[in-house]
């Protein structure tokens, strides 16, 4: 079934005769002879840029590598004999999908930044750019039927858990088309099996364990991923939750997204032990590179398997970084240097890392990825357009959604003569 593609001289890549990868150099230099692949037709094929490049380099889609195996960093282990595998297989489709999703999150957050500065978004806005590999990697390691809960830096997760950019942006601008009809805002977005979006630091951790308890109780083989940050990691209720999750063997993956700063306090100034993956004590833990989407994916798969096999909870620490400040009111440079931010951006950016991997292994072309960028930008623009033009929620909606499944009731307004109506 394989048709040999005519080889072309290409000094950039090493050529390997054997289809099996057994060369362990840096991921950029591995090539595999490609069998015929059948990618879904992409508009990228039709643009002049691509057509031109096709003419110039005479490269067809049949050239792209369908999949490649990459080395990933070894995880630090706590109370575990073995960790996740040291290699990850990435197919072209997966790579493009991860790239697209991460780029969508990136652009969405940057657009939110813009809208906030224009005062179209107000209140709290905690941006996720820099941490995209965490959200995307975790989602690819679990199923949509699993459960996830996080704190307030939640826009990325709302997307990976099934929300659309339109709904998310409209929620940020407080419009009726928002994912919570404009009543929740940045920190209170929900989708199926995604429990927010929680404003009180650390409170989401017991909630997540409760969801895991329900999974175990109902026997549905689902798990709950329960996220918190390095700032929350010192909360007492988290340790209470570790205790009960471990006692009752709840299928819960605790994930600490360590972005080095809890608001403006660096981890060294907040925690006596910054080995967050060990803080679960009796709970096995992993520490890994949260900027590498493949690393996150493999670790999540490993952790999910651990939980599903009934061994109880497991803890993961993702070492990551946020480019923006804690929230929009924080420039993010009073407690860290611009040089530090720049260094992370240039050396460890999750999207660049994936892009380089894919390009170096001939899994995608520059033009193709640029095309994805253009599509993503368009999607974000459309969503922002919707978010700024959609009307605000109607005043009749003010008192609705107090109780579920209850007959309509009256709610006192601001004065005794104002009686407002509330329906479920």
């Amino acid at each position: 079934m394989f048709t040999l593609v005519t080889e072309r001289e290409n000094p950039t890549f090493e050529k390997i005769i054997s289809p099996i990868i057994d060369v362990p150099p840096s991921p950029a230099l591995i090539t595999v002879k490609s069998p015929i692949i059948n990618p879904s037709p992409s508009p990228a094929q039709l643009t002049p840029a691509v057509a031109n490049s096709m003419v110039v380099s005479a490269r067809t889609y049949a050239d792209f590598t369908p999949q490649a195996t990459f080395d990933i960093k070894k995880c630090d282990l706590h109370k575990l004999e073995e960790g996740p595998p040291l290699q990850a297989v990435l197919t072209r489709e997966e790579g493009l999908q991860y790239y697209r999703t991460m780029q969508t999150i990136r652009r969405m957050e940057l657009k939110a930044d813009q809208l906030y500065k224009q005062k179209i978004i107000r209140g709290f806005c905690h941006l996720y750019d820099g941490q995209e590999a965490c959200a995307v990697g975790i989602e690819t390691g679990i199923n949509l039927s699993d459960h996830l809960i996080t704190a307030y830096r939640a826009h990325g997760y709302t997307l990976t858990r099934g929300g659309t950019v339109r709904e998310i942006m409209a929620e940020l601008t407080g419009r009726r088309g928002g994912i919570a009809k404009g009543k929740g805002g940045s920190m209170h977005m929900y989708t199926k099996h995604f429990y927010g979006g929680n404003g009180i630091v650390g409170a989401q951790v017991p909630l997540g364990a409760g969801v895991a308890l329900a999974c175990k109780y109902l026997g549905n083989n689902e798990i709950c991923v329960c996220l918190y940050g390095d700032g929350a990691a010192n909360q007492g209720q988290i340790f209470e939750t570790y205790n009960m999750a471990s006692l009752w063997k709840l299928p819960c993956i605790f994930i600490c997204e360590n972005n080095k700063y809890g608001m403006g306090t660096s981890v060294e100034r907040a925690a006596a032990s910054t080995d967050y993956y060990k803080r679960g004590d009796f709970i096995p833990g992993l520490r890994l590179d949260g900027m590498d989407v493949l690393c996150v994916r493999e670790a999540t798969k490993f952790a999910a398997e651990h939980c599903r096999s009934g061994k109880g909870p497991i803890l993961m620490e993702l070492q990551t970084y946020r480019y923006h400040g804690h929230s929009m009111s924080d420039p993010g440079v009073s407690y860290r240097t611009r040089e530090e931010i720049q260094e992370v951006r240039s050396k460890s950016d999750p999207i660049s890392m994936l892009k380089d991997r894919m390009l170096s292994n001939n899994m995608a072309s520059v033009e193709e990825l640029k095309e994805i960028d253009v599509e993503v930008r368009k999607e974000i623009e459309d969503a922002a357009q919707f978010a700024t033009t959609d009307p605000e929620p109607p005043l009749d909606d003010l008192c609705n959604h107090i109780f579920y499944n209850d007959p309509p009731m009256e709610v006192r307004g601001t004065n005794p003569w104002t009686k407002l109506k509330s329906v479920s």
Binding site: K181, Y190, P206, A209, G210, T241, N243, W248, F403, Y404
Partner: protein, 399 residues
């Protein structure tokens, strides 16, 4: 002999609940099951009454007496039965809290449930209120129907963030996507000799928050019907019991023994009709109001005693209707006066149609505005007594 037997039965019904009797040969074996609110250890007492055949004791007499006996149910047993029936009815219902399983409940309210339903549905937790309350809320979000017991509501303060921010507000913040069908229950308010940190009434604190339903039963019937309604309700319900009421028996009607007996949340009940003054109360204070009303009736003052049953949503209409009839109002509660339940009732009366019917200012009878002391004489004088209610009624009527 039969007369002695009869009197003994009447005496025992006040404090005892007779579960079974067996007539064996010439001896009638009565097995009594006694739970005192002062002493939570149940004990069995076997009384053997000797009957001679010559006394012609009729079996039907014994049946009648036992029928009367069986319909006396303590608040504790009513709560126990309600939970038992709801656990049976819906598999998603489960109970968690400190000592609810193997200890049979700190106040024995969940006695027998763990033996019947096992570890999966009756869960003993470590002493970590914030943690297990959060876990209960999370389980409710994911489709179960937890009953989260706080050993007393004083400890709920450690978990109050989960009750308010995670449970009460979520349905609104998610614009109807995420409901939280949970019941938080436990004893509330003053007990006997437990001092300041264990005696606070939380009716006003929880009653303040939209998104919560807050229920405060008085009698065994209230306890049964309201707990069943609370468990079947798809919203967060704070169920405020009272430790001093656990051991008090009440007559239960035939209707209230049904497995589907529900009392609607948000509706008050008029416990005693009257024309001269409306007395509004909740929980244990209802007993005192009825006692006060009995004393006042001898002097020709007829009090209309309203048992609120629910703190939130407050049945203002029932109170207004009553005030429009009696023209006088006092509220009676065990909690502190400032920003309390009584304050809310008075404000509503001021703002509503009943104001024009008041012949005297409405007043509140409340606990004294101090932390609860320990010494008996001090404690007794820190909460309303019957004489305080009588005094306030008379002052209001003469004013």
């Amino acid at each position: 002999m039969y007369m002695y037997y009869g009197i003994t039965m009447v005496f025992f019904t006040v404090f005892w609940v007779c579960h079974i009797y067996i007539y064996i040969n010439n001896m009638t074996l009565f097995i009594f099951y006694h739970v005192s609110y002062q002493n939570v250890t149940p004990f069995l007492c076997i009384i053997i009454a000797l009957h001679s055949v010559e006394y012609h004791v009729l079996p039907c007499d014994i049946c009648i007496i036992n029928c009367i006996l069986l319909l006396q149910v303590t608040v504790r047993d009513a709560l126990n039965q309600a939970m038992d029936e709801e656990l049976e009815r819906d598999e998603r219902v489960f109970l968690l809290g400190e000592e609810v399983a193997q200890y049979d409940g700190a106040y024995k309210v969940s006695r027998g449930l763990w033996k019947k339903y096992g570890d999966k549905r009756i869960i003993d937790t470590p002493i970590t209120e914030m943690g297990f309350a959060g876990i209960a809320v999370g389980a409710a979000m994911a489709g179960l129907r937890p009953i989260c017991e706080f050993m007393t509501f004083n400890f709920s303060m450690q978990a109050i963030d989960q009750v308010i921010n995670s449970a009460a507000k979520t349905y609104y913040m998610s614009a109807g996507r995420q409901s939280v069908p949970i019941v938080f229950r436990g004893p509330n308010g003053a007990s006997a000799g437990v001092a300041a940190q264990h005696s606070q009434c939380f009716a006003a604190w929880y009653g303040h928050c939209p998104g919560l339903k807050v229920v405060s039963p008085w009698s065994a019937e209230d306890a049964r019907g309201l707990l069943k309604s609370a468990i079947r309700d798809d919203n967060p319900v704070v169920f405020l019991e009272n430790e001093l009421m656990y051991g008090v028996p009440f007559e239960m009607s035939e209707e209230s023994q049904s497995k589907d007996f529900l009392i609607p949340i948000g509706k008050a009940k008029i416990e005693r009709q009257g024309n001269h003054i409306t007395v509004v109360s909740h929980s244990r204070m209802v007993s005192l109001c009825l006692d006060a009303a009995a004393v006042l009736a001898k002097e020709g003052i007829e009090c209309e005693v309203i048992n609120m049953r629910t703190i939130r949503p407050l049945d203002a209409e029932a109170i207004e209707t009553s005030v429009m009839k009696t023209n006088h109002l006092i509220t009676v509660e065990g909690g502190w006066p400032q920003f309390g339940v009584g304050g809310e009732i008075l404000a509503r009366i001021m703002e509503g149609p009943a104001f024009n019917y008041l012949d005297a200012p409405a007043v509140r009878v409340t606990g004294v505005d101090i932390p609860m002391p320990y010494a008996k004489i001090l404690e007794d004088n820190s909460v309303p007594q019957i004489k305080d209610i009588i005094f306030s009624v008379k002052k209001t009527l003469n004013a």
